[in-house]
Symmetry: C2
Subunit: 330 residues, 2 copies
Amino acid sequence: MSGKNVTRDDVAKLANVSSSIVSYVINNTRNVSPEKRQRVLDAIKELNYTPNIAARGLKFQKTFHIAYICDDVTNIHFAEMLQELERISYKSGYFISLCRTRADDAYIDEVLSRRFDGVIISSMRLSVQQINRLSVIPTVILLNRDDACFDPKISKLFVNIYDGEVSAIRYLLDIGRRRIAFVECVGTTGVHQSVVDIREKAYLEAFESQSELEGVKPMSISSTDYDGLFRNITEVMKSNDRPDSFVCHDDIHAMVVSGACQRVGFSVPKDVTIIGFDGIRLLKYQNAAISTVEIPRYVMAQKAMNMLLSMMNENKPSIDYVDTSLMIRN
Amino acid sequence: MSGKNVTRDDVAKLANVSSSIVSYVINNTRNVSPEKRQRVLDAIKELNYTPNIAARGLKFQKTFHIAYICDDVTNIHFAEMLQELERISYKSGYFISLCRTRADDAYIDEVLSRRFDGVIISSMRLSVQQINRLSVIPTVILLNRDDACFDPKISKLFVNIYDGEVSAIRYLLDIGRRRIAFVECVGTTGVHQSVVDIREKAYLEAFESQSELEGVKPMSISSTDYDGLFRNITEVMKSNDRPDSFVCHDDIHAMVVSGACQRVGFSVPKDVTIIGFDGIRLLKYQNAAISTVEIPRYVMAQKAMNMLLSMMNENKPSIDYVDTSLMIRN
DNA sequence: CTGAAAGCGCTTACAG
DNA sequence: CTGAAAGCGCTTACAG
């Protein structure tokens, strides 16, 4: 039997009860005589009936579906976040849709049309206006953005990226590194202009405070894609003022940098120290020891879901913070 | 204005037209006098109205939502597949939910309850019965499984994994490798018993046909997780009959194997040749050259969506095949 | 303990 | 060119 187009009325007919009884049995929301209840349960089984959540949602003004908007789920950090969000939201009765950022207003309309019960955003590509338009539904922003003018209805979960980046630089200076290069996020052309790179800000300010140290001066490496990054690293490593260390936008960047350095004959971490960001699991299986600034993804996913739930239930937006931790590998 | 709880009736009231007119304007499905049309459009804008897709779906018996069921989206191969499916399905008007496999019947009920318009499955954990239950909605299976008894309503997109694996072994034998180890999928405890490892089958049969070659005998390496794999590889590489090459379940496994081999002092690919499976982009930035058997993900995503569409529209299930290609890196 | 009916937000056949 | 009404599959207040 098709479980798809079977409706509550079909069940009622087969069980020979009124159709409201079926609801009451399914939702256990009223006492129903044992015989009728059993007839209903049997009919459900026989017809392979499952209640239509969309129809129920129309009544409840809920879809039991949330959205995760992110720029690139092929970046393991976001894939791990998505998978953890899926796990946690499912426990609360929600399915989760992957929405890849599209920076046009029509896309925001599309997302709003789906009447998600909540949306969690990890995007550097959406404008403040676009995010604010979403805020008519419970919204949590995960990525750090320096935009001041988010709607107060939006919940924010800040990652203390600044301190994480500073601790990475400090560590490099401590172990005697002086030529510390900053590896910017690849392909920043799609990034919204209002987004400030907090890592870069931290990098530059950490340098300023260390200006008395000899030979310390900032250098940034930017690229349009990973191929370009790989090429740029191999080139800069062949040049005269090659870096002795890198702080990278994230772990994927760090892996590419590590690969490139080794291809031109440098040993990691002996010749070059590399520090990534995020703490993806894959990093520790690399041939070379790559350190990283870990983001507590599981804590974040749980917090984000809690924030969403308290917005849905009590309409209470909130702000929270999580700290990073420097993970050294030698 | 909240775009969330604004309904078509609110628009109608503001525009001073009947509520059906609003539908006709939005869907462009009947001639409406220019003045009224304009009043409606103005009201939509002013109220920030977006139509409720769920309500529309109730009428159409559609949710405009599909599901992607996979075992582990933190594996880049599946993340890339998901992202490509998202891109393609969005163009056809569908959102996509990430559903991580849960191998119990209650989960199948949950998925059926959402009335997805279609479901695409990359899972080795679901039983045949569970997948067959899903087949009341248009279903496409992507992963190769040897189960004979799938419901004929299900569409199947086969990857020619067997030939891909054989070509990898042949290549290794051609370049003189004799101690070729097979690296099984990590953590196979969750894998459904009916799933046969086609890679392993191909591996063993390729060996049989080469049994006249001296010193060639199969060896398999299995592990419960990546930590275990890393450990097992370092151990086997220290042993007396260490392999001179590896064919790995996928590229992530290959990266771990590569890392482990190098950590104990072997050079890749000079001392050890490693071949992965899938062809994820990240692989080429590794310090060591790792070959792979490429799966045409973009072609697959497009085919899967087309199969889904023709099931939705014409109720026509189909079977299709894609080939892999051996990608050598030196 | 039970059932008929209204309503969630849409679409569209029907009647004008 | 227009509008009132039925219906998609649910839930639940209301009346018995």
